[in-house]
């Protein structure tokens, strides 16, 4: 059952990530990205990371993608003419280098983790994905980064408001 669900979510994630990069219309690319985030949330649930799955839906598929679609609505979404129109040599070079690095990484992953023993038993895995466990860790070992991320979000809010003002003075 787990394997079947993983296969479904993984194939949705792979296909939708390819569609994000290849579609010419940015609105369709954004909708495929939402699909991709949804399938990632499904994979997080399979890995029994419930809190991260819910946050993925709320923050990514909710907040960030609404921001993207809102900006697409404000700008006139100009279609790119063709994928290989300008500088096809650079694009082919990018694709070939990426594919080779991907294959190298797959080789490394198979070599190192294929026969690795599973260190956590199922009960332990379910226990660490809860809000309780993450909250305990967040407010004890990761307290300073948690405070710092608050400042990052505050400065991002101020920066976004300043940048989108009509006249910078």
């Amino acid at each position: 059952m787990e394997v079947i669900l993983f296969a479904v979510f993984a194939s949705i994630a792979v296909v939708s990530s390819v569609l994000v990069v290849t579609r010419r219309n940015p609105v369709i690319a954004a909708l495929c990205l939402i699909l991709n985030f949804g399938s990632l949330a499904g994979m997080y649930l399979l890995l029994s990371a419930q809190f991260i799955a819910v946050v993925q839906i709320i923050v990514y598929a909710g907040a960030i993608m609404v921001l993207f679609l809102f900006v697409l609505m404000l700008l006139r979404p100009d279609m790119e003419r063709s994928f290989f129109r300008h500088d096809p040599l650079f694009k082919w070079a990018a694709i070939i280098v990426s594919v080779f690095t991907f294959l190298l990484l797959v080789y490394a992953i198979i070599l190192t983790t294929f026969n690795a023993p599973i260190l956590a038993n199922h009960a332990k895995t379910i226990e660490i994905g809860t809000v309780e466990a993450i909250g305990k860790e967040l407010f004890s070992n990761f307290l300073l980064p948690f405070e710092a991320i608050g400042f990052v979000l505050l400065s991002a809010t101020v920066g976004a408001m300043l940048l989108s003002k009509k006249k910078l003075d």
Partner: protein, 100 residues
Amino acid sequence: MNLLPFYLIVSAFMFFTGVIGVMTRRNAIIVFMSIELMLNSANLTFVAFSSFLGNVSGQVFVFFVMAVAAAEAAVGLAIIISIYRNKMTANIDEINILKW
């Protein structure tokens, strides 16, 4: 069955799709979406290792990555809007005033 290598392979695939998107696409918003794809593939790796090693720190890191991604999206899209207001384009080939 040990599914860890398959999660890692899906994550690597998404990362390199994002890399191809950043290097080949010309629309600044799609370049941003590809960056989000790369951040999400890193998150998937974090959660997969966290779940298979039984260590909660990976999921806390994913929480921080999501906060940074939200901040990055807000600032980046504000920059794109202000560039669009000045140059009336979101095509990154035409935005070259910092090029020497």
